[in-house]
Subunit: 202 residues, 4 copies
Amino acid sequence: MARTPKVVEDRREQIIDAAVRVFSEKGFERATNKDVAQAAGITPGLIYHYFASKEDLLKAIFEEHSPLRLMRSLPENVPDLAPEAMLRWVAHQILSIVESEQYVRLARIFLAEVLYNPSMASVGFAAMGEVVGFLEHYLTLKMESGEIRSADPALMVQLFGGSLMAMVIRRQLMQDPLALHYTHEQIVDGVVTMTLRGWLQT
Amino acid sequence: MARTPKVVEDRREQIIDAAVRVFSEKGFERATNKDVAQAAGITPGLIYHYFASKEDLLKAIFEEHSPLRLMRSLPENVPDLAPEAMLRWVAHQILSIVESEQYVRLARIFLAEVLYNPSMASVGFAAMGEVVGFLEHYLTLKMESGEIRSADPALMVQLFGGSLMAMVIRRQLMQDPLALHYTHEQIVDGVVTMTLRGWLQT
Amino acid sequence: MARTPKVVEDRREQIIDAAVRVFSEKGFERATNKDVAQAAGITPGLIYHYFASKEDLLKAIFEEHSPLRLMRSLPENVPDLAPEAMLRWVAHQILSIVESEQYVRLARIFLAEVLYNPSMASVGFAAMGEVVGFLEHYLTLKMESGEIRSADPALMVQLFGGSLMAMVIRRQLMQDPLALHYTHEQIVDGVVTMTLRGWLQT
Amino acid sequence: MARTPKVVEDRREQIIDAAVRVFSEKGFERATNKDVAQAAGITPGLIYHYFASKEDLLKAIFEEHSPLRLMRSLPENVPDLAPEAMLRWVAHQILSIVESEQYVRLARIFLAEVLYNPSMASVGFAAMGEVVGFLEHYLTLKMESGEIRSADPALMVQLFGGSLMAMVIRRQLMQDPLALHYTHEQIVDGVVTMTLRGWLQT
DNA sequence: CATGAATGAGAGTTCATTCAT
DNA sequence: AATGAATGAACTCTCATTCAT
């Protein structure tokens, strides 16, 4: 008797998955319901059994597959790692999540939408806020302990994360060869060294 | 006499300006020719006197108002500034150009287009490459002189620029309050300090 | 069961029929999709469920209702009729097929199209070739048997058929009263007598 | 002082000539005023100084360049030629006029128009009537003198002319290779022999 | 649940025609 | 006389959405 809801869930999921694929390839506007239906192996009419409209399908993608939810895999309490180990671990974590095919697909759709509907960005801020918050907390502690130079910790975290974010945008969304030239290892190395020690010879 | 070509240029310009406004607000796909015409104070048919198609109008925007052309205002010969002064100047330059209303409009259109048409990105890479190349050259010299720690200069520049780029994206395109909280001064200070000296207490 | 394909066929057929009527009255260019839809009792959009474009609808008319397919009702083996009976029968056959309302409609559309798109004429040449070939074969045999004067049989058949073709064009397509003045009987009589015996008193 | 009207005539003529070329190549509907203007070396607006509308330009073509007017070059009084010489001369005359580039152009436009506007055909009937009348008169005389078999002279002439007309249509308008295979000489020979003596061996 | 034929609103585009210059 | 920018009506075509089956 628990079959109907299960099937319903499956169909919904199936349609959402197809939509992610189609929207991320052609863009929401350019993709038609027929495209989505085809990709999902169903007929266009059926979409309307599970979603009120095409727009609604897009919202469902964000609500149920938020690209940022994936990043909530950070530890609850700040581990007591040395700054370098910590940054290295976070950078690696971010890169490996964020450069997965699934994530890139969602990010593309999300970014395209946010560009003309900034109110939707709030969905993203929450998750991003968590990452920022986590590192900010860590930084604050390390500043108090004197291990790290005093500065606005939130800004520092944003600059650090931004380096990575911009890299990923140029690599995955714009396919800039200049950015694609590096391995994760090189990027992590570079960003961690720069962030912690800076360019200047000491 | 010689007025006709001027008028033609004016109309073209007028339509392009209207299109930039409309496209940047609603997105290229969502914006209609009627919208553009209205914003330009003409009738939709007239667009086709100056552009072969809606797509062609979009291309004209990029070709004639390339958002990246604006950044080609870098000094010809690498000035012999100290790293801090240099970075500070570059960061300021970038921020002030890139956060202008006109530039943000173009960037929004450009980014949205590039997401689903990466081949168009090449237009952007050229200009971005110039900025990167300029700083890379500077960095290389300073590394040779021992003033700056040895590292992949291109990667360093990309990480530095990425910090700013991500900041601008979050501020202007996503209107992230977390990012909007800072002044140009604070951002420049933060990014320059971090980039040159790093987080670690020395 | 098995009804859906039937309905689909019906709609297609219905649209094609309407298109034949409309195109033959106003011409392909002058007729609008709205006209066709109205004549078919549907909305314009539906045409695109069955045909890729207006042009495609035109092609479908020719492919599925080829005006020349109708003339493929010639006897398989050359019957051993005397020349007069044979010509009389062929002339009658041609006239009765070719002066039907349906045929005239198709011919009008076809001719109009061929005038500016001679490549399309090949569709017609095939069927016309069959009729010509059939009579040519007959003529050749009769020339060999000495019953008919030696001459280029293909040319002879074309001239004979041309007499009829021109008559039909002037009657049905141009409605020339001079040509409409005659009955089928009179035309057949005239063309057969002239073709076989010529004008000269013998 | 007779210059202005002359220039006007020239411009009109120039536009009409261009229109004949353009209409005969693309068809009246598919050809645009811009096409015509370009072909005439003027601008579209100027057409409206000489013609009330595009339609009007088409009418002017027919009125001033009637394709059938060209055929009015027949002798006033029936010459006393033997039937064979006469038919041969007429057939040659018709073919050489009617297969000229200028004539074919006009005929194409005319035929395309007449297909959907049979009332316009009357323009053509007059001229065609003259040719028919001429030969009909000749035939009647020869029938009375017993040289030619008694029959409906008008029908005979139409069948004779139809053979040629159909040949020309297939050659020039449909470019049927079957018809293009013959020279004028062969066609004249064939049609005259057939018309006068018929197919049957005597 | 599922289909896909059908609709209707509206998009991009074309072009005959006008008219200020 | 001549231009060509400008208009507006109409066209082809697309597609989200509905609904009878």
